[in-house]
Symmetry: C2
Subunit: 149 residues, 2 copies
């Protein structure tokens, strides 16, 4: 098999660059739980302030979070998802669901997720946006984009 | 807000422990593309053999890949997904899709994904396995599991 540089440069790598370190993912998780303020990120995660500050800066630079003045206190800033950042939820949710299925013991996962829309416990799955069916690894075909060769 | 240790210990952390480094994710991607042999992982990724060897060992230890004799050459080994490993596809697919949507330029993504089941270009989304609707971040409620407090 020849070197498949096109595969190496696939979009997965770009995503890893954007969110692929442990602290960034945990910051994003907290933001999905509703956290917006620096001190709350810091206290929930027990993260060093310089690391938190650096990761937040990168997430803002990458247009995943936006930093704006806190409407409740103009001396403070809050961090909120951009549209691009909000779209990361599928990844975070897929990671939580996998951990729930494969790494929790008899007591179950630390958090239960509920889908407010239908009221049921949430176990999400990746579905094809065209046919709506669940997508399994063996049902996907990969084709090189000739424009990027 | 008090420290939310239950959130910190959520399943996301377990998943990051299992797959959260760049090389492990790229190895998993190659395995989803059908790669099974050490030398092919090595040549496709340009990864140092000691790093590849160490990452494969961890993936086998974590029951994500299984190492078996190559039926075509008994002197060699091949690496194949376990059921637990195969279930990581949602995460890898979500990451590829996000990268495709937000990080590719005018030329489009390096790879087009097709859903063999319906024959259409694949843009996957996370759906609730109960109601089938797409799941958005703001529609999920988190509840502590009393058994794990």
């Amino acid at each position: 098999m020849k070197k498949t540089k096109d595969k190496i440069n696939c979009s997965l790598v770009q995503t890893i660059e954007a969110i692929g370190d442990r602290w960034s993912l945990l910051i994003l998780r907290e933001a999905f739980f509703g956290v917006k303020r620096f001190d709350i990120f810091q206290s929930n995660l027990g993260i060093a302030t310089n690391i938190l500050s650096e990761r937040l800066k990168k997430l803002v630079k990458d247009d995943i979070l936006q930093r704006t003045k806190d409407p409740e206190d103009a001396r403070r800033f809050i961090y909120k998802y951009t549209e691009k950042g909000l779209d990361l939820y599928s990844i975070v949710l897929a990671m939580i669901n996998w951990g729930d299925r494969w790494t929790t013991g008899e007591k179950g996962p630390p958090l239960f997720l509920h889908h407010k829309t239908c009221g049921h416990r949430l176990d999400a799955m990746m579905c094809c946006s065209h046919c709506g069916k669940q997508v399994h690894a063996r049902e996907v075909h990969y084709e090189k984009n000739p424009n990027t060769l």
